[in-house]
């Protein structure tokens, strides 16, 4: 299976998803 990081658009989308996950995490644990 191809590594998703080989695709630049997929890399950017994963970065955006991680950003949303991080915001949800910070809201959950409090900043």
């Amino acid at each position: 299976m191809k590594n998703p990081l080989e695709s630049l658009p997929t890399t950017v989308v994963m970065g955006l998803v991680l950003t949303v996950a991080m915001v949800l995490l910070v809201r959950a644990i409090g900043s």
Partner: protein, 159 residues
Amino acid sequence: MEDLLIVIIRWLHVLSGVMWIGLLWYFNFVQIPSMPKIPDDQKPAIGKVIAPEALFWFRWSALSTVVFGLVLAMMNGYLVDALVLSNALIGLGMWLGLIMAFNVWFVIWPNQQKALGMVEVEADAKAKAARTAMLFSRTNTMLSIPMLFAMVAAQNMTL
């Protein structure tokens, strides 16, 4: 006076960070996708001249970004709170930045030295090193997105 020093350290942190992430994005958005389109006889211009120069500024700007960032956090009194994530947003940004800087110095740079022929290795090892460097560079591109959000948001909003 201390306020001015903090502003100067923050300015140096941002200057270094712009150079680091700018070069990271140059590699990922420009150089890597362009390589297959460059004729073989012209590839040494990238591999022997441009990439080594870009990597020099890339790794040292990564280090200076981290050093000025840690000094800034210490001067502002939140270094420990951030590292133990009791100040979660800036802490996550710092940890992402630290992981990225580790990747630059201990994964990407040693593998790029092999891939660009600065360290002599066999053809198989050279190809493997180039792939490893590319994948970790992509990892850093992915991590740069939440890292920059955390850095900006920590200064400008309360989540």
